[in-house]
């Protein structure tokens, strides 16, 4: 199990609840940090703004990023993370209600590692989120693992 956590960027409280419930089913709920908009996500990752005083820790194993976010949008967050040396290789999964081709294409072009649509059907949704969590936390070897002191 990766000692790094999951950063969930989700503005919809119900989706947050359902996501956390799904992750809890696979025992990953404790590793999850939730921020509710893009700015918060950036502040958290770069320890800026509200997170300026929080001591620096390891980057999360994966960022689950919604696209339709208040303040700074998901694609903007993706671009800022990929343009920064520190987060250039950070695994980012786009988790969104949109199944627009444009969104998918832009996400991959922006450097997203995965694009996953949130199914309307809850059972499907729960399963998808659970698999994602397990994959990124347990299966995948992050490019950042070896390089972190």
């Amino acid at each position: 199990m990766n000692r790094r956590g999951i950063l969930l960027v989700e503005d919809n409280a119900q989706d947050e609840l359902l996501t956390l419930r799904s992750l809890r089913k696979v025992n990953l709920a404790n590793a999850v940090t939730v921020v509710r908009d893009g700015q918060q996500a950036l502040d958290f990752l770069f320890r800026e703004g509200a997170f300026g005083g929080v001591p620096a820790g390891p980057l999360p194993a994966v960022v689950m990023l919604d696209l339709g976010l208040p303040r700074v949008g998901g694609l903007e967050v993706l671009a800022r993370l990929r343009s920064d040396e520190r987060t250039r290789l950070l695994p980012i999964v786009i988790l969104t209600s949109s199944d627009e081709d444009q969104d998918r294409l832009r996400s991959y072009l922006g450097g997203a590692n995965s694009f996953v649509r949130k199914p309307v059907d809850f059972a499907e949704f729960a399963e998808t989120v659970a698999r994602l969590g397990v994959y990124w936390m347990a299966v995948n070897e992050s490019p950042l693992d070896g390089g972190q002191p």
Binding site: Q14, L18, R21, G68, S97, D99, D101, V120, D121, F122
Partner: protein
């Protein structure tokens, strides 16, 4: 002479008187004188001759004084020589008698020598005037004869019996190569030793009294040249009737013979010339018999290979017309008949044009020997000429037409001199357009009349015209006579007229047209503006719709997920605590939210078909159908559907959208054959109203065509949910996609007997271009 008187009175019986009588009869006188004293005496006869008194005495000087100035020196010299040298004399002299009568006398003088000196000179004296006159007239007549012979225009010679020349004409001398020689007295046989014996025989026959003529006798000249002559020998007789010799007359035939030979040669040449003349030419005698004929004539008249010489033209052409015969008669009568252009109808009915000439030829002065007929087939030339005349006539007509086209042209036309812009001519339309009448315009320059709005405009036009030689569609504002502007479309061309460059310009008044065009442009601009505005509005609406669709896809789903999610969480976490009925309600919430999720997806798909660019690319519809089939069979295996997918169905369109089309149509077929024991689904090429199309058909439930109008409207369904579940969005989406591709879609169905959907996908405009 004074001694004669007494003697004259002597009696007739004595000898002296006899002598006197005799001397009187003989008309001979005697005289003597003494050289020392000059005293002399003469007989009566001498005195009579001098018309002096015989009784008077005489002296030497008296005797000498009667002689004429011509005779006197001769007699004085003879007397002096007789006295000094004792020389006798005999002279014929002329004297003028005392009565003034001129007389010829013969005087003979004899010196008498005694003691070595001349003591007396004596002699006879005779009147010879009559004798002398006879002699003179004879000589004159001889001279005249000689002159006559000399200058006779024929070769003529007179010979004596020994063939010695007595007289000869110059022509003879010339003909026999004797010019410049004095041949009188010479013998002909000495001059021409080779004279043939035959000639000598003829001479002898003539000397014997015969007249002999020869024809064409060859004769060798003294210089050896050979000549031909005709000659005649006839005898002449003297006064006594005795044969005196012969006269030869000859005529040189050499030249005539030569010219005859030359004539014969030239006749041959003429015949040859005629034969090979590059024209139809024939020579006829008076009886119209062929004397010579050209090959061209023979071929022209179908006589090639036939012998016509010597045969009559009328015998060869028995059918010859009376008109021709009349022409021949006129020619034979001496007339030259020429026809420059004469039409004949050949036996085969075709028309032939001839130029012909009938000319008499003359045997000798004034005697027509026959005809020369010349004919030339000028059919081709005449036809060409007629064509030319026709074209000339056409030209004349076209000139008139052009003149009419000029004067009555609906366009204004002006002819202007390039150098100074002076107008040479204008037509009626120009007059009405410009407001100037022709008389006001012709002879004046456009500049002077202020037709151009500015000198620069005129200069620019002339510059451009000079550079290009021709100008078309030049739009120019001009001023009418009253200063009112009008716009004309101007076409102009530089052409040389009377050796000077001129401008031929044509003006069409386009003032109205231009106004209308400007109006159209203004309206167009307005329209475009409005279209732009409307498009912007539409764009805004579209963007709004897109934003709406995006919002729907994002934001409508989240609450649905919450409803469905928490319903499921409730069931999972607290299901055991809930009564059976509550769990049933939870199930309805979940089913409703699921259905709504599908509706939202369908709506999104429908909206997406009208958004975004339509890409054109080659699409394999068979492949798309196959994809759908595999997906359907994965989702719902074991249906046992028989597929008939025609391979290689190619279309041009947006692959993503056409995938939606195939998914819907094939998906429908799959769905509606659900109750069919032997389901068949076909995708193939077909025709729709004569145009190629694609058809997706099944043998499923079908539908009632009475409701076909609702088929493609969104959310309209022809089946109940409990029969065949569905959203009523699929066919609406399909129709939109087909319409966006410029195609058509139509359905054909019967309840219980399946349905067929035909759609066309015409190639884009770009693709239809070669």
């Amino acid at each position: 002479m004074s001694g004669e008187g007494p003697r004259a009175r002597e009696s007739e019986g004595d000898p002296a008187s006899l002598l006197a009588r005799m001397s009187r009869l003989a008309k001979v006188g005697g005289w003597s004188f003494d050289p020392r004293t000059g005293e002399g005496e003469w007989t009566e006869e001498v005195a009579r001759i001098h018309d002096l008194d015989p009784t008077l005495a005489t002296t030497k000087d008296l005797g000498l004084s009667f002689y004429t100035p011509e005779s006197r020196p001769r007699i004085e010299q003879a007397v002096r020589e007789a006295i000094e040298a004792a020389r006798a004399y005999d002279l014929e002299l002329e004297l003028v008698s005392a009565k003034g009568v001129r007389k010829w006398v013969r005087t003979q003088g004899q010196p008498v020598v005694e003691g070595g000196r001349v003591v007396r000179v004596q002699g006879t004296f005779q009147d010879i005037t009559a004798q002398k006159q006879l002699e003179l007239s004879l000589r004159e007549s001889q001279d005249r004869l000689q002159l006559l012979i000399d200058h006779a225009p024929a070769a003529l010679a007179m010979f004596d019996r020994e063939m010695r020349y007595l007289a000869v004409s110059r022509r003879w001398l010339n003909d026999y190569g004797l010019s410049g020689r004095d041949v009188l007295g010479d013998c002909q046989y000495d001059l021409f030793p080779q004279l043939p014996a035959a000639a000598r025989a003829i001479h002898r026959r003539a000397l014997a009294g015969e007249v002999v003529c020869t024809e064409e006798d060859p004769f060798i000249l003294a210089d050896g040249t050979r000549r031909w002559r005709r000659w005649e020998a006839r005898p002449w007789r003297d006064a006594r009737g005795a044969s005196g010799g012969i006269v030869l007359f000859s005529e040189d035939l050499t030249d005539r013979k030569r010219s005859e030979a030359a004539l014969r040669g030239s006749e041959d040449r003429l015949r040859l010339f005629i034969e090979h003349a590059p024209a139809a030419l024939a020579l006829f005698d008076q009886e119209m018999r062929y004397l010579a004929v050209s090959r061209r004539w023979l071929s022209d008249y179908g006589l090639a290979g036939r012998e016509v010489l010597g045969r009559s033209h009328y015998e060869i052409f028995p059918e010859i017309t009376e008109a021709w015969k009349a022409v021949h008669r006129r020619g034979l009568a001496g007339e030259v008949v020429i026809e420059e252009e004469d039409q004949f109808i050949r036996q085969d009915g075709s028309a032939q044009w001839l130029r012909w000439e009938v000319r008499p030829w003359y045997e000798s002065e004034g005697v027509v020997g026959g005809l020369v007929i010349f004919t030339e087939d000028i059919t081709a030339r005449v036809q060409a000429l007629h064509a030319l005349r026709e074209s000339e006539a056409a030209l004349l007509i076209s000139e008139r037409l052009f003149a009419m086209a000029f004067t009555q042209n609906p366009a204004a036309i002006a002819l202007t001199r390039l150098a100074d812009g002076v107008i040479l001519d204008v037509n009626a339309t120009w007059e009405s357009l410009s407001g100037y009448c022709r008389e006001e315009a012709v002879g004046h320059s456009a500049r002077e009349m202020r037709i151009w709005p500015s000198p620069e405009a005129s200069r620019r036009f002339v510059q451009e015209l000079t550079r290009q030689g021709v100008i078309r569609d030049w739009e120019q504002t001009f001023l009418r006579k009253r200063g009112e502007p009008y716009v004309a479309r101007l076409a102009a061309q530089v052409l040389t007229f009377r050796g000077e460059p001129h401008i031929l310009s044509t003006l069409v008044d386009i003032t109205e047209q231009k106004r209308a065009r400007e109006e159209i442009q203004r309206l167009n601009a307005d329209l475009e503006h409005r279209v732009e505005a409307r498009t912007a509005e539409l764009q805004a609406a579209n963007e709004e719709l897109e934003a709406f669709a995006y919002a729907v896809s994002h934001d409508l789903r989240a609450p649905l997920r919450a409803m469905s999610g928490f319903s499921q969480a409730l069931e999972e976490d607290f299901g055991a605590a809930l009564p059976e009925e509550a769990r049933g309600y939870l199930g309805q919430i979940m089913a409703g939210s699921h259905h709504m999720g599908e509706l939202i997806d369908g709506l999104l798909a429908l909206s997406r078909t009208t958004r975004g660019d339509l890409k054109r690319e080659p699409v394999d519809l068979t492949f798309l159908a196959e994809e759908v089939r595999q997906q359907l069979e994965r989702q719902e295996p074991g249906r046992g559907v028989r597929w008939r997918l025609q391979p290689g169905l190619r279309a041009s369109g947006d692959a993503r959208m056409l995938r939606i089309v195939m998914a819907n149509l094939v998906g429908n077929a799959w769905k509606y054959t659900g109750g069919q024991p032997d389901p068949v689904i076909a995708v193939e090429a077909a025709e729709l109203d004569g145009q190629p199309c694609f058809r997706v058909s099944d043998n499923g439930a079908g539908f009632d065509m009475a409701h076909a109008a609702k088929l493609f409207q969104p959310f309209q369904r022809l089946h109940r949910q409990d029969e065949f579940p569905g959203l009523g969005i699929g066919l609406a989406t399909v129709q939109r996609i087909i319409h966006r591709h410029g195609g058509r879609i139509a359905a054909q169905a019967e309840p219980g007997h399946g349905a067929a959907f035909c759609f066309s996908l015409p190639p884009s405009l770009e693709e239809t271009r070669p």
